[in-house]
């Protein structure tokens, strides 16, 4: 079946079985390989994308349920919050191997959109579905605080 999916602002026609995970469409059909395949069973968060602004696990989102929603991937997040997160990530040198990081960034951006000044426990709760096998959790948490401070106009 042919599905029309909106990804990063453009409409793509995709021929796929309805149960094909959005992740496979993004990576294999559209060539957007910034979104990673970690576990495929909604356990790790590496495949996190935004669907109508909400963080979602694309490995567990069959293409037939995407409908007319706007999908945004790591390649296209672009607003002051995303910029602040990216800069904080660079300044803190957050990634180690980097595999989980596009998912971490997508979840962090969604968190700061919903909660401009998250506490440690807000961050832990919101990021609990994003696993990092290199255990960069402390740097992730610090970078989210830094990005929040930058967005509040405070010096970091």
């Amino acid at each position: 079946m042919v599905y029309a999916v909106r990804v990063n602002g453009s409409l793509h026609k995709v021929e796929a079985d309805g149960q094909t995970p959005l992740l496979w469409v993004l990576r294999d059909t559209l060539g957007l390989t910034g979104t990673k395949y970690g576990c495929g069973i909604a356990q790790c968060g590496a495949c996190t994308v935004h669907v109508d602004g909400q963080p979602m696990r694309s490995c567990s989102l069959p293409i037939e349920f995407v409908g007319s929603a706007e999908v945004t991937t790591i390649e296209a997040i672009d607003d002051p919050i995303a910029t602040a997160v990216q800069q904080a990530w660079v300044a803190r040198d957050v990634p180690q191997c980097g595999f989980c990081q596009s998912g971490q960034v997508m979840s962090a951006v969604a968190l700061l959109r919903a909660m401009p000044s998250p506490s440690d426990s807000d961050i832990d709760t919101a990021m609990s579905g994003n696993i990092c096998r290199c255990a960069t959790y402390n740097r992730i948490r610090a970078a989210i605080h830094d990005a929040a401070a930058t967005l509040r106009g405070e010096a970091v």
């Binding site: 995970p21 979602m56 567990s60 709760t125 579905g129």
Partner: protein, 230 residues
Amino acid sequence: MTRRSDRPRRRRFRIARIFGIAGLLVVAAIGLGLVYLLYPRPVLQSEPIAVETLYAQLESLQPVSAFDTIVEPRLRSVALFEEVGRVLQSPRCMNCHPATDRPTQTEAMWPHMPWVSRGLDGGGEANMRCTTCHQAQNAEASGVPGNAKWSLAPIEMAWQGKSLGDICRQLLDPARSHMTREELLHHMAEDDLVGWAWNPGGGRQPAPGTQDEFGALVAAWLETGAQCPQ
């Protein structure tokens, strides 16, 4: 003189012969090794692993008529509820009626992975809504179960760790169940999130019987005075 000058030559000859033999042996060994390594042999083929398909064991419910033989109405009502309880206390129902803010999962009722919490509305915390992973229907590739209303029962309706009698009294208390008896019957007999329990897919064990049979048992229990076990 002659014998003396012959000696080193003979020794050199012997050494050369020893090295020659050793060299031949090495060459022969290498040759044999190469023949062994390069000899064409069938390439190992991948073999399908015997996957144990988890055919869920179907459990049935007794029909309402099976309780007609219990003459005393109060006892009949209690017996009907005990049959209803086989569904209520199945992991399919209990997993989303936890006693904490965290659901459980699988037949073993493990803590939900990843870590999630009920949030304000039972649908998860801001960044970790149930819908982050659970869609309107089961997702085949990831095995993640789904329903449009996927969420936790309110904490006042926690069932885990409670006796069947306590669950019964809780159901009948509108302050905790947030339901009238009619709404309760509707929730049990017709709600499609509840109905997922009988069609969980993915090798998961369904709740006993069918939703229709279950609904008939709940209706009969309510009609017989909605009596609770101890």
